[in-house]
């Protein structure tokens, strides 16, 4: 108790300096938390992936499609529960800046495979009845103000022309990590239009989504699917949904790694600032420490005082920084909603923030402690700071 009082009094001796240091730590811990959350957001797709879903695509790359006839063949394979298919549409809503993912999906089966997309039953019925119907995620609907019954026109980049849709439903995410930024419409609408305008490109599917009975059979089913289409004009590559999503992240890995490195750099920067504060504090108080030593306090007492002060300041900063992480992350997530559809602060991030605060406090006190503990009383008393 007595030590605690001394530590707090010491910390408050230079209010301006302590205040500035705390402010610096707040900024650093906040930045660290945000950067970790940005990295986590890249992995949101793979984290939300179901273990019982497989994705089959053309083995050359995603820009090549698969024949519609594969659907029936895949369904025959043992272990397959249900099959649906989807095409990436890549349309532009008014201007290129308004990005949200759009998929043409086989309307009758797709939403059975994705129970995490929750659509009210009457909206689902309206969607199935309307060939030009569309179902939009809550996030995208909020950003662009889409309401049920609204007409939405997209300019096709892969499928030429202007495409008209009517919003028939808005889906909510079953969990916080569910991506609610997507726009779904009927694959039949796409296919029938392509039959008329570009028959060569009709009856082609971007990816098949396969639902399997149990996650244990994923590898076995995936191999069976790929074996079926070996040596055909369109060979397939089947992987778990998680691997499929991670494939996208690995393509921008360099950016993710860079953000990770930078998130640790900010901790180093603040460590230098904090260490500087402690070094100055201790240098100014050398005479006091010598007095304490002369009174009979051992080096361990001094160490405790200095460590305690450093940890108190770092702890205060870290606590405020962590508390601020939540509102700031929410605002940031709203502003960046188009690019990072799922933006949640993970528990792991909080632990790392706490650890970072403690490490900064401890490391900063290291050199000053050694100096104070080793100073000879005579030299210390002579010291004028």
């Amino acid at each position: 108790m007595y030590y605690l009082k001394l530590i707090v009094r010491n910390a408050l001796r230079h209010k301006l300096r302590t205040g500035l240091t705390v402010l610096g730590i707040v900024v650093a811990i906040l930045a660290f938390g945000l950067l970790r959350t940005v990295v986590d957001a890249w992995y949101a797709g793979s984290e939300a992936a179901s273990k019982t879903r497989l994705v089959t695509r053309n083995s050359i790359s995603l820009v090549f499609s698969l024949p519609l006839t594969y659907s029936a063949k895949i369904r025959q394979i043992e272990g397959v529960n249900a099959v649906s298919h989807a095409n990436w549409f890549g349309g532009v809503y008014i201007t290129e800046k308004n990005f949200f993912p759009q998929f043409a999906v086989q309307a009758s089966t797709y939403f059975d495979l994705y129970p995490e997309f929750v659509v009210p039953p009457e909206q689902m019925r309206a969607f199935l009845r309307d060939r030009k119907g569309a179902i939009v995620g809550r996030k995208t609907a909020d950003i662009y103000g889409f309401k049920v019954g609204d007409q939405v026109n997209l300019r096709g980049t892969i499928f030429p022309g202007t495409w008209e849709f009517v919003v028939r439903g808005i889906y909510e995410g079953a969990e916080a990590r569910t991506d609610t930024s997507q726009f779904f419409f009927q694959w039949d609408y796409l296919n029938e239009t392509m039959k008329k305008t570009a028959p060569r490109r009709a009856n082609l599917v971007g990816v098949y989504i396969i639902s399997i009975a149990s996650a244990d059979r994923a590898a076995e089913v995936a191999t069976a699917v790929d074996r079926t289409f070996k040596n055909s004009l369109a060979e397939t590559l089947t992987e778990t949904e998680q691997a499929f999503q991670l494939g996208f992240v690995s393509m921008v890995e360099a950016i993710v790694v860079a953000i990770r490195i930078v998130s640790f750099l900010v901790i180093f920067i603040i460590m230098a600032v904090m260490a500087n504060t402690m070094a100055m504090t201790v240098r100014e108080r050398m005479a006091e420490y010598a007095t304490l030593k002369a009174l009979g306090f051992g080096p361990w007492h001094l160490t405790l005082l200095i460590f305690g002060e450093s940890l108190t300041i770092a702890g205060c900063g870290a606590a405020i920084g962590i508390a601020l992480t939540f509102p700031v992350a929410e605002g940031f997530g709203k502003a960046m909603g188009k690019f990072l559809p799922v933006f949640n602060v993970h528990a792991e991030t909080l632990y790392m923030q706490v650890a970072a605060g403690l490490i900064v406090g401890a490391v900063a006190a290291l050199v000053p402690c050694v100096r104070a503990a080793h100073i000879r009383i005579v030299d210390g008393l002579r010291n004028i700071g």
Binding site: V63, I158, M251, E253, A254, I259, V262
Partner: protein, 388 residues
């Protein structure tokens, strides 16, 4: 009268640990700032070098990228026969009708798959892109299942080196050469015979066309005529503009990320400088009083402390820039969001970036040192002398 420069310098020297820590924090911030600028410059340079001003690229209207684009043979012939198209030495038109697809290849070091652009080119492609030179092996023979890989692609992807083979489109493709494209985007591509690739991928259409202009001034008129032609559904762009547009999203992303990080981080460094300078003022109160009593003006004291802060910034800036300059040895490769394919580019340091970075460091120092310097200059002589 001015306070001697050596006074400022010695003050920093006396508090070595403090100076080192403050400048070190600044150096890290400067390092991040410079690295981001270098990255953006590297990306810009790579894509600007990819295009040449006299070349025109034609893609399907609103296709945005070559991969999404499609131009059928009838349209291609129409465009080829335009009088503005330049003639080569052999009297042939300088046109390249190309087919561009993405192929999923695994990286050599991590085995992770990524999209690589495979470009089917014609006999005139090399004339249109003078920067592309075969550096090892030989060019592919027209009509054979042979391909050549760009320098970065050959290095990074399994099966893309000379003598290796790649399997796609139901065929085995022999890699017979490596080409260098002068650090342009082509370095990340794989090239083959357009007709062979169209066969293999069962695509009877071209993706895009590139041709050279007779006279570069004719571009606007030609573009207007082609785009208003009822038989064509295309868009014509200068090659330089096309490639600059291709990197727009990635460059913007890097810039925003970099600016945000630099601002946040510089707050930390400025606070560090402020703490140091306040302490420096506090511990030298008597000294300042003496200086003022000796006849140095308030403005001189202010200038001396500002200079000290600035010097801290310059030291941090130089160290940070020195560290950042080593980043030039690295090449970064990531997916370009727009073309959906892997693009390799390196950190590029230019004189403009050096100046910007040092200015940034100095501004950080001045901002951090301003309030403490004002406090120092406002001290009353009597009080200051009594403080000792």
């Amino acid at each position: 009268m001015k306070i001697p420069f050596s006074y400022t310098l010695r003050n920093l020297w006396t508090r070595k640990l403090t100076t080192l820590l403050t400048a070190g924090g600044m150096a890290l911030v400067v390092f991040v700032f410079a690295t981001v600028l270098m990255l953006e410059e590297g990306l810009r340079k790579t894509l600007v070098d990819t295009g040449s001003y006299d070349n025109v690229i034609v893609i399907r209207r609103s296709a945005q990228t070559e991969v999404q684009s499609a131009i059928d043979r009838a349209q291609a012939s129409l465009i080829e026969s335009q009088p503005e198209v330049a003639l080569g030495a052999d009297g042939e038109r300088l046109v390249s009708k190309e087919t561009i697809v993405l192929v999923n290849l695994n990286k050599r070091n991590s085995d992770k798959p990524t999209n690589v652009m495979v470009r089917g080119v014609g006999p005139r492609s090399l004339t249109l892109r003078p920067q592309v030179k075969i550096i090892a092996g030989r060019m592919f023979r027209p009509g054979a299942s042979e391909i050549v890989a760009g320098r970065n692609a050959a290095e990074r992807f399994k099966g893309a080196g000379i003598g290796e083979t790649l399997w796609f489109g139901q065929r085995e493709w022999q890699v017979v050469g490596t080409f260098d494209a002068g650090k342009s985007g082509f370095d990340s591509e794989i090239w083959g015979d357009a007709d062979q690739l169209m066969q293999a991928f069962r695509r009877p259409i071209y993706s895009a066309m590139v041709f050279k202009l007779n006279d570069t001034a004719q571009f606007d008129a030609l573009k207007a005529r082609l785009e208003s032609d009822q038989r064509l559904t295309i868009e014509a762009k200068r090659e330089t503009v096309f490639y600059a547009d291709q990197s727009d999203a990635l460059a913007t992303f890097i810039r925003y990320l970099g600016v945000t990080l630099s601002i946040i981080f510089s707050v930390g460094a400025i606070i560090g400088a402020m703490i140091t300078m306040y302490a420096s003022v506090a511990s030298r109160t008597a000294e300042i009083g003496t200086l003022r009593a000796l006849g140095f003006r308030q403005s001189s004291v202010l200038a001396a402390f500002l200079l000290e802060a600035q010097l801290l910034g310059v030291v941090g800036g130089c160290v940070g820039l020195f560290l950042a300059s080593f980043m030039q040895l690295f090449t970064i490769s990531t997916m370009n969001f727009q073309s959906f394919s892997e693009l390799a580019f390196s950190f590029t340091l230019t004189p403009a970036i050096t100046v910007k970075t040092l200015l940034f460091a100095m501004v950080m120092g001045v901002v951090g040192g301003f309030l403490p310097a004002v406090r120092a200059s406002r001290l009353r002589i009597v009080d200051a002398l009594r403080a000792a």
